[in-house]
C-alpha cells in the first residue's frame, strides 16, 4: 500500500512538473523488444527538447493498430503524431485535409536533398506538399538463418534459396522446422512477396505491381514463383506460431532453419545477444536477387487547432529526421536510415549489406507504395488461404492472383 501511494505521489509530481511542456501523444505499433527499445530513442530525444512524449503503443500489428489510429483521426480525437507506413495508407486522410502540412520545415531542413532514396519523400508528398516524415527504411527481402540449426543437422549454412531448399530434408531429419513462419496474414503475404522478387526478378515485379499487368501475373515466369511458394509452404508446414517474433525466436534458438522476414527481425537477434556472422546469417533477396524495397515507417501529424501542439508537432518532425536521432533510432531498430549523409559504421554486418545495396541503387518500391490497401487486403486473403491449405495448387492460386491484379486500382 505504501509503495502504491508513493507511486501515485510521484506520478502526481511528474504530472505537475510537466505542465509547461507540451504533451504529445504518439501512437505506433512498435511493441516487440527491439522495437520498443528503438522507439524509446525518439521519446528520449523529444523529452530532452522540453516537451513530453506520451507513448500510445498499440499492441498487435499494423493490421490491428491502423484501424484504431484511422478511426481516432476520423472521429475527431486526433493524436499528436502517429506511425503509418509509407505510401497509400493515409492517402485519403491527406486528401480530406486532416493532416498537418510540413512543407515549411521540410524546406528549412532541405529534406529534398538529404532524404535518400528520394522515393521516400515522394510517398509523403501530395500536390507538391509534404505531409509525413520518413523515419526509416525497412526492407522485406531477407531470410534469416540459424547457424546452430544447420550445424545440428550436419549441413553447411546455405548461401542462397536453392541451397536452403536442398538442406530442408536434413533439417527435418534432425527434428527441426526448416522454415519458421507466423500465421498472421501480413506474414504470409510478405513472404510471398519476397519469393516473388527473388525468383521472378524485378522486371516481372514492376510489371505486375506497378503496371498491374494481369497477363504477366498469369504468365509462366510467375508460375515459377508460385511453385517456389508451394515448396516454401511444405517447409513451413510444421510451424505453428502466431506472431512474427515467435517465429524469429525459433531461429534464435535453433529450432528452425530460417525465416523469411523483414529486417526488423534483426532487433530481436540483437536483444537476444546474437551477432550476424556468428549465431545467425542473413541473405538479402534470398541470396538470389539482391534488391531491397524501400518502404518503411513514416510519422504523420494530424491537424490540431491548438498552436502549442502544432509547434510541438513540428519540433518532433524535425527531431525525427535529425542526424543524431536517425543514428540512435535505426541502430536499435535494425532498419536503414532515411538520410544518405550519416555515418553508420557502428552498424552490424547485415545492416552494412543493406546499406551497400542501397548505395548501389538496387532498390524497388514497396507493396504499400504501389497497391491500395484494398488490393493488398485481397492478396492477403488469397495468401493466407494458399499458405494454410496444402491442397490449394500453385495453378489455382496463380489464377486467383491474376484476377486480383486485373481488378487492381
Amino acid at each position: 500500500m505504501k509503495t502504491l501511494s508513493k507511486l501515485l505521489a510521484t506520478g502526481a509530481f511528474l504530472a505537475a512538473g510537466a505542465v509547461h511542456a507540451t504533451e504529445l501523444e504518439v501512437t505506433h505499433w512498435w511493441t516487440s523488444g527491439g522495437e520498443a527499445a528503438a522507439v524509446a530513442e525518439f521519446a528520449k530525444a523529444f523529452d530532452a527538447s522540453g516537451n513530453t512524449w506520451v507513448d500510445g503503443a498499440i499492441a498487435g500489428s499494423g493490421g490491428t493498430a491502423r484501424p484504431i489510429i484511422i478511426s481516432r483521426i476520423l472521429g475527431g480525437d486526433p493524436m499528436g503524431a502517429t506511425q503509418l507506413n509509407h505510401g497509400r495508407q493515409a492517402e485519403e486522410l491527406v486528401e480530406a485535409g486532416l493532416m498537418l502540412d510540413l512543407t515549411d520545415i521540410a524546406t528549412e531542413g532541405d529534406w529534398a536533398n538529404v532524404v535518400n532514396p528520394t522515393s521516400l519523400l515522394d510517398a509523403c508528398t501530395l500536390d507538391g506538399k509534404i505531409y509525413c516524415v520518413p523515419v526509416n527504411i525497412h526492407s522485406w527481402q531477407w531470410i534469416w538463418l540459424s547457424n546452430k540449426a544447420f550445424a545440428d543437422a550436419g549441413v553447411d549454412t546455405p548461401a542462397n534459396w536453392s541451397e536452403f531448399v536442398a538442406a530442408a530434408p536434413a533439417l527435418e531429419a534432425a527434428g527441426k522446422v526448416p522454415l519458421a513462419m507466423g500465421q498472421q496474414p501480413w506474414q504470409s503475404n510478405g513472404a510471398f512477396g519476397v519469393i516473388a522478387i527473388a525468383i521472378g526478378g524485378q522486371d516481372l515485379w514492376n510489371k505486375i505491381n506497378i503496371d498491374k499487368d494481369a497477363d504477366a501475373a498469369a504468365g509462366p515466369e510467375m508460375a515459377k514463383v508460385f511453385e517456389a511458394a508451394v515448396v516454401a509452404r511444405q517447409m513451413a508446414s510444421k510451424s505453428r506460431v502466431q506472431d512474427w517474433n515467435q517465429a524469429t525466436n525459433m531461429v534464435i534458438t535453433g529450432e528452425a532453419g530460417g525465416q523469411i522476414m523483414g529486417d526488423w527481425a534483426q532487433g530481436e537477434f540483437q536483444i537476444a545477444g546474437q551477432t550476424a556472422g556468428n549465431e545467425y546469417e542473413c541473405l538479402p533477396g534470398l541470396g538470389v536477387n539482391e534488391v531491397i524495397s524501400t518502404g518503411g515507417d513514416a510519422f504523420y501529424f494530424p491537424k490540431n487547432d491548438d498552436p502549442a501542439i502544432t509547434a510541438a508537432q513540428k519540433e518532433l518532425a524535425k527531431l525525427m529526421i535529425s542526424q543524431e536521432v536517425q543514428v540512435a533510432f535505426n541502430l536499435k531498430k535494425g532498419s536503414l536510415p532515411v538520410r544518405g549523409d550519416i555515418d553508420l559504421s557502428a552498424a552490424n554486418d547485415c545492416m552494412q549489406k543493406g546499406l551497400q545495396i542501397l548505395a548501389d541503387g538496387n532498390v524497388m518500391l514497396s507493396g504499400d507504395e504501389v497497391l491500395s490497401a484494398d488490393t493488398q487486403g485481397q492478396i492477403e486473403d488469397l495468401m493466407v488461404e494458399f499458405w494454410n491449405d496444402p491442397s490449394y495448387s500453385a495453378a489455382d492460386a496463380q489464377a486467383a492472383y491474376a484476377a486480383i491484379i486485373a481488378d487492381a486500382d
Partner: protein
C-alpha cells in the same frame, strides 16, 4: 359506458396517456435515427465505390458481384450456417436438459446453478482464449490424454481446417448454455405444481409429461431463448478472433469478421457495407416468416 358518460367528453386519442407518450419519444427517436436511419445509410453507400471515406459515386451492384465472387465470403457464410444450425439445436437441448435436471429438486441446486451460469459472465474474448489453450494440441486436452498413455490420440480441432468451426462451436455452447438454462429454469418454475400432480395421477411417465405437456406450455420461453441464441449467432466475431483469427487459412472466417476487415483494415467501406447488408437481408429473410407466424394471423389468447 356509464364511466364514459360520467367523464363527459371522450378525450382526444392522441392525448391519452400523454406522459407515457412523451416518455417514449427518446426511444422512438433512437429507433428511427439509429436503426432505420443508419441502416438506410449503410445500404445506400453499399452501392458506391467508397474507400476509406464514404463518397456518393454509384457503381451499381459491383460490390455485391465482388462479394459473391470472393472465396472468403463464401467460406464465411458456410461456417455461419454450420455454427448457427448446431449452436441453435445444441444450446437449446443442453440448456433445457440442465434446467430439467435442476428442477428435479436436487440438493445444492444453488451451487450448480451458479457454476453453470458462470461461463456466461466471461467475455467472449476470455472464453475464446481459454478454449484456445484447452484445444491447443501441445498443452491442452490432446497432450493430457497422450500423457495418460494413449499416444496416438488426436484432438486438435482448431488446427484442422475441416472441423475448426466445431472447435469454435464448443466454446460458444460452453458460454451460452448457462443463460439458456436459467431462462428455461425460470420457465419450468412457472409451471403450476398441480399440472405435475395431475400428470402423476394419470400415470403419465415423467419424460412424456415434459414432451407433451410442459414443453408446449413453455412456448414463450422457448421463443425468448431462440431469439437470444439467434442474435448471438449472427454477431459471432470475438470468439473467432480470440480462438483462431479466422485460421487455419480462412477456414474459420465468419461474416462479421469479413465486414470489419474490409471496412477498417482494407479501407474499403463499400465492400464492408455490401457484406453487412447481406447479413441484414439474411436475418430479415428468417425473421419475417417467423414474425408472421408468431404475431400475425389471429391473435392467440
Amino acid at each position: 359506458m356509464s364511466m364514459q358518460d360520467n367523464a363527459g367528453k371522450r378525450p382526444v386519442r392522441l392525448l391519452r396517456n400523454l406522459n407515457a407518450k412523451i416518455a417514449s419519444i427518446p426511444m422512438i427517436a433512437t429507433a428511427l435515427v439509429v436503426f432505420i436511419g443508419c441502416t438506410t445509410w449503410t445500404v445506400v453507400y453499399s452501392f458506391t465505390d467508397s474507400k476509406l471515406l464514404p463518397r456518393l459515386n454509384f457503381v451499381g451492384l459491383d460490390q455485391y458481384d465482388r462479394l459473391w465472387g470472393t472465396r472468403r465470403w463464401l467460406v464465411s457464410i458456410e461456417n455461419l450456417a454450420w455454427y448457427g444450425f448446431c449452436s441453435m439445436i445444441l444450446t437449446l437441448l443442453i440448456g433445457f436438459t440442465l434446467a430439467a435436471l435442476l428442477d428435479r429438486k436436487v440438493r445444492f441446486e444453488n451451487t450448480f446453478r451458479t457454476i453453470l451460469l458462470y461461463p456466461f459472465a466471461l467475455s467472449f474474448i476470455v472464453t475464446g482464449l481459454v478454449w484456445q489453450w484447452i484445444l491447443n494440441p501441445d498443452f491442452g486436452v490432446q497432450q493430457v490424454v497422450r500423457d495418460w498413455g494413449w499416444t496416438t490420440f488426436t484432438f486438435d480441432p482448431l488446427y484442422n481446417p475441416q472441423i475448426v468451426i466445431f472447435g469454435i462451436l464448443i466454446a460458444g455452447i460452453w458460454q451460452g448454455s448457462g443463460l439458456i438454462m436459467v431462462i428455461m429454469l425460470a420457465g419450468l418454475r412457472g409451471i403450476d405444481e398441480d399440472i405435475w400432480k395431475a400428470a402423476r395421477v394419470d400415470g403419465i411417465p415423467t419424460w412424456k409429461t415434459y414432451v407433451v405437456v410442459i414443453i408446449p406450455m413453455m412456448r414463450p420461453v422457448f421463443v425468448t431463448a431462440l431469439v437470444l441464441i439467434a442474435s448471438g449467432i449472427v454477431k459471432v466475431y470475438d470468439l473467432v478472433v480470440a480462438q483462431t483469427s479466422g485460421g487455419p487459412g480462412i477456414a474459420s472466417e465468419v461474416p462479421a469478421k469479413y465486414v470489419y476487415d474490409k471496412m477498417f483494415a482494407s479501407q474499403n467501406l463499400a465492400q464492408g457495407f455490401a457484406a453487412s447488408t447481406m447479413m441484414l437481408v439474411s436475418v430479415i429473410i428468417i425473421l419475417i416468416p417467423w414474425a408472421y407466424l408468431e404475431f400475425g394471423g389471429k391473435k392467440r389468447g
